[in-house]
Subunit: 106 residues, 4 copies
């Protein structure tokens, strides 16, 4: 008999995990690059251009996570709500998702 | 005989419609207020403060719409996908939602 | 003898005033358009697309005002600081400008 | 005898350089922390909360750089424009600053 092993792929981003990790490594390098630019007194506008590049990269990371969250956690909760007849399961997930999106929009 | 009345409340924001409309009327007035400030040569920093207030109000409107969309359209699609066994129904809605969120984050 | 009439064009955006006012009128119409969409139960994603369009338009308005502020108020203060030997005049303007930019970035 | 060594501190952020570098090191660590969270399949909402924290920290870095740029490069250019009677020196800097701010606002 097989049980669902939610523990190993709990949040849906596992499929794209490698891509996401690669992206985060690159961002880490970009932040280090900015520190180097500041150390070397690089012209501030050039530093700001790099800051914008990191913001755009972080934006893609957020989007990735939000899409995975909606596509897995919210959708999974919708199915559970339907199976159990308890709407609060999905309602809680929707609230949580929109709170996270609100923090991203600041 | 009962017909599904999806047409009258199709997107879920109908419940909060009055609150949303009130909020939009207020934003409309704020934009008009900024035009007046510009006409009267109000100090630019004070105009910018009003611009930030409108941005924050628009942010709440977006959040409202996003939460309603996830809570109604995405969740509804998840139920349809489960009922029909066709995962593409909800997958399309999730993609659409995250594209809209991406535009909001810019 | 002529005196400078800073009162009538104090903040520099007066030159582009017409363009700025036209832009604000258009945004006002866009906000009204969104209210209409909500009233007519337009599909939420389409409403969100319009919200993003307004955000982009407000972004241009902010940028306009920021550029004018820096180009006129900050630069004017720099000249006054140089003329009077009092650096605090320009320092205050720079602080004020960056506080306004911070509110825009949220 | 003292000479002004503008070359070594060209962009004004040198004074706050240590604080800025410390902030960047912390952000680098936060990005690495997110990679670790993803590796360990941390709940996506918790990862998103960390993403928002990095965005807020990057926001402070940008603001720092923008304030320094306006306070040093733009103000310095305003003084040069006044000394030389050539307004284009400061006009170019203002354009450059507002282009950088536009990229930050996205």
């Amino acid at each position: 008999m097989e049980t669902r092993t939610d523990k190993t792929h709990p949040h849906g981003y596992s499929a794209d995990k490698d891509a996401l990790l690669k992206r985060l490594r690159r961002i880490e390098g970009q932040v280090r690059g900015i520190a180097r630019m500041v150390e070397e007194d690089t012209y501030c506008i050039d530093v700001l251009t790099q800051v914008s590049a990191i913001n755009a990269a972080m934006h893609k990371v957020s989007l990735n996570l939000v899409e995975d969250h909606i596509g897995h956690c919210v959708v999974g909760a919708a199915e559970q709500s339907q199976a159990t007849g308890d709407p609060s399961i999905v309602e809680d997930k929707v609230k949580e998702a929109s709170a996270a999106i609100s923090r991203l929009l600041r």
